[in-house]
């Protein structure tokens, strides 16, 4: 199974497995992971024995478990396989998995990510991401960071959050994987209302990557992936710019010789509509004012985006699975026409500190 052979130039997504996101899921971590993983392996046309490497994405503090992969690798069928856990968004785990396949050491790699946000006080959780001596005592949280960035985005860009949310929620309403929930206009932290903030949900997603195109019935080419991380010091970051997102997009596209206009569909993990506007403007995808129309057309977030259902850690893998559906031309209710090239995104860290991008293409 494990190869010490030559390097690999082409990596494919062989299969994807998702569990429907839920506001409060009844399944255990292991059940959710098992369901996503078995779905992905079945979809890939491979068997569990064909998988040589397992890379999982999970976060101990979110799970309330130390070294949470200790038990979940069993649910993923990882018996004497190459294994690693990445404590980032699942798409960053996919970035690592892609590099391992390109090295020639792995052929078929399973990547999965999961979380049960319903069990977590998300404000306390995000407060723990700050330096315990300096920032944490000031009460910094994810909501506060998002609000600071949203305020700066509002100043800088022409954003109509209601038009954007309307378009996103319409798309989300057609997506069977998303949670459907009406949220209020109550201002939580200026300028963000309840409906602007991420709805944290439970979920699990898995993908199978392969170097062997011939073995999978419906491959999607993973053209490139890239990740970048902003400073860990908030004061060194510009609130009206997502620099690491811009770098990740530019490098991912550069690696496969594409420009932003070559991408048919963008599946972006936005915590708020303001951040989606910052992303598209910063990466020159479109102007913020054009964004609601592009969302309606299905060019940006035909899935409905992440704000409506954020399964933290698994978020980027959900986007990737949706992107793979489009590239395969699969029948789905939220992007009927399909797409040739899709750019997918995941993020981790407060204020979107780490951003990862992958570019997918329909296999020839």
């Amino acid at each position: 199974m494990i190869s010490a052979g030559g390097s690999v130039n082409e990596v494919y997504i062989a299969g994807a497995g998702l569990v429907p996101m839920k506001e409060k899921g009844e399944d255990s971590f292991a059940d959710s992971v098992y369901n996503a993983v078995t779905g992905a392996i079945r979809d890939s046309g491979l068997t569990a024995n064909d998988i040589d490497t397992v890379i999982d994405a999970g976060i101990d503090l979110l799970d309330g478990k130390g070294i949470s992969n200790t038990e979940l690798i069993a649910a993923a069928g990882c018996f004497l396989k190459e294994e690693a856990k990445v404590e980032e968004d699942g798409l960053t785990a996919l970035f690592y998995a892609e590099k391992r396949i390109k090295s020639g050491k792995s052929r078929n790699t399973l990547v999965f990510g999961y979380s049960k946000c319903s069990c977590v006080d998300m404000e306390a959780y995000s407060n723990a991401a700050f330096d315990p001596t300096l920032y944490r005592r000031l009460g910094f949280t994810e909501s506060l960071c998002l609000a600071l960035q949203a305020s700066a985005a509002k100043e800088k860009l022409n954003i109509d959050p209601d038009a954007l949310l309307g378009a996103l929620n319409d798309n989300a309403g057609r997506n069977p994987w998303m949670v459907k929930k009406e949220r209020s206009n109550e201002e939580i932290i200026s300028p963000l209302r309840e409906r602007d903030l991420p709805l944290y949900v439970d979920g699990a997603a898995a993908l199978v990557l392969t170097a062997d195109r011939e073995t999978c019935p419906r491959p999607v080419r993973l053209l490139s992936s890239w990740t970048a991380t902003d400073s860990g010091n908030l004061s060194l970051r510009q609130p009206d710019r997502l620099a690491s997102f811009e770098v990740a997009v530019a490098k991912a596209l550069q690696k496969c010789g594409l420009r932003t206009e070559d991408v048919d569909v963008w599946e972006l993990s936005e915590p708020t509509p303001y951040h989606l506007s910052l992303m598209v403007a910063g990466a020159s995808i479109c102007r913020a004012a054009e964004l609601p129309a592009l969302v309606k057309q299905g060019r940006v977030n035909p899935s409905g985006g992440a704000c409506a259902s954020t399964a933290l850690v698994a978020c980027g893998l959900y986007r990737t699975a949706f992107g793979a559906m489009y590239a395969r031309g699969e029948e789905n209710p939220f992007l009927p026409g399909g797409a040739k090239r899709v750019c997918v995104h995941g993020y981790a860290g407060v204020g979107m500190q780490t951003n990862t991008i992958a570019v997918l293409e329909a296999a020839q």
Partner: protein, 388 residues
């Protein structure tokens, strides 16, 4: 796989407490030392990987890798954190190797370390209890020492090894640590002192266990093109294997994950008889008896033969196959960087930079990490020979 070399390593002296530094300040000196050792500029680093074990659950710090990214020179570069329990330092080094081996990077840096508590302190043990399933396992989970005590007892029953053999491993480790300026516990001890040290969970006594150390380590890996002309340790074989922490008929003494990882790494390196082909082994012995258990699982001798090797001094500093001339995990255990230090120390020996702890001309070396719920193993084969 493309050729990848370790071109620089860094570490700081470890000790029991380090109240004067935060996470960023703990990592920075090791990163700086590794970059200087490699003879490169910080701007040459194209990607970074951070390894920390149970930081979030133990210290309540979420995403510590993103907190230290500035200290690693990783801002606006690919930077991520891996977490595989005690194995994590080696897993981080392994990730850096894969990034370079992918052909997308020429230079990558990995670092590891934890500032607030080491591997075997009381806080760590409480955190390790949280490894167990909350419904089925946590209620009777006893942390690392309890698990190791059961394994120690089983290992003795299976192999005829005695507590005295394990104590001899501690004596060797302390002697070796005395030559290592970065090691934590350097006071020499006698077999009698080890055997009479206070019991923790019989047969494990206090001196059988690793200490709680604060410190950090870093490693720079590079492509063949970038490494040209540099003093290097070539990564000839790698493997990191996981197995579920419970399954029917699991034999933790057999440690399938370690044997499997070793077999794969040796096969990749074209190594048929490690006992004859390596001049040094750095292994992850959190408890004294593991020096012998891992020697067997790494195929340095047959099952049950390690005690005889210990009696003959074969694993001592001047022995046939020196094990842990750095002092090993028995004398320095940060939890997060311990497995990386195995790779660092093996590379240091291959590069001939060991100073007083250099065991001689090391052509091939093995580095091994172990952890999780006694289920993850990571094995490196390093070599001074670029022709492979």
């Amino acid at each position: 796989m493309r050729k990848v070399a370790i071109i620089g390593t860094g570490q700081i002296p470890h000790r029991s407490r380090m109240f004067e530094v935060n996470e960023q300040e703990l990592i920075a000196p090791s990163v700086r030392a590794a970059i200087e050792d490699a003879g490169i500029e910080p701007s040459d680093i194209e990607a970074t990987v951070f390894g920390s074990a149970i930081t979030s659950i133990q210290d309540g710090i979420e995403g510590v890798g993103r907190l230290v990214v500035d200290s690693m020179g990783g801002v606006l570069k690919p930077s991520f954190r891996v977490h595989t329990g005690g194995t994590v330092g080696a897993s981080a080094a392994l990730a850096a190797v894969y990034l370079v081996a992918s052909g997308d990077f020429d230079v990558a840096l990995a670092a590891a370390g934890t500032v607030r508590a080491g591997a075997s302190g009381p806080r760590s043990q409480r955190a390790l209890q949280l490894v167990g399933d909350p419904i089925y396992a946590r209620g009777f989970s006893g942390g690392a020492v309890m698990g190791l005590a059961m394994n120690f007892k089983k290992y003795m029953e299976k192999t005829g090894t005695t507590e005295k053999h394990a104590a001899m491993c501690v004596v060797d480790a302390r002697k070796n640590a005395g030559r290592n300026p970065f090691a934590h516990l350097k006071d020499e001890v006698t077999v009698a002192e080890v055997l009479s040290s206070p019991p923790l969970a019989p047969p494990v006594k206090r001196m059988d266990m690793c200490p709680t150390s604060i410190g950090s380590a870093a490693i720079v890996v590079a492509s063949e093109k970038f490494a040209k002309g540099k003093n290097t340790a070539w990564v000839k074989g790698i493997s990191a294997v996981g197995e579920p922490n419970t399954y029917p008929d699991r034999d933790v003494i057999e440690a399938k994950c370690v044997r499997e990882a070793a077999g794969r790494a040796y096969s990749m390196a074209g190594m048929e008889d490690p006992a004859k082909q390596v001049q040094l082994v750095e292994l992850y012995n959190a408890c004294s008896y593991q020096t012998m258990q891992w020697a067997e699982c790494l195929f340095l001798c047959g099952d049950g033969e390690a005690k005889d090797m210990v009696e003959k001094g074969a694993f001592s500093f001047d022995g046939k196959i020196p094990i842990n001339p750095s002092g090993g995990v028995l004398t320095t255990n940060n939890g997060s960087d311990a497995a990386m230090l195995r790779v660092v120390e093996a590379a240091v020996q291959v590069m001939g930079k060991g100073g007083e702890r250099q065991v001689g001309d090391v052509k091939n070396a093995i580095a091994m990490g172990w952890g999780g719920g006694q289920q993850f193993a990571c094995v490196f084969v390093l070599s001074g020979d670029a022709n492979y």
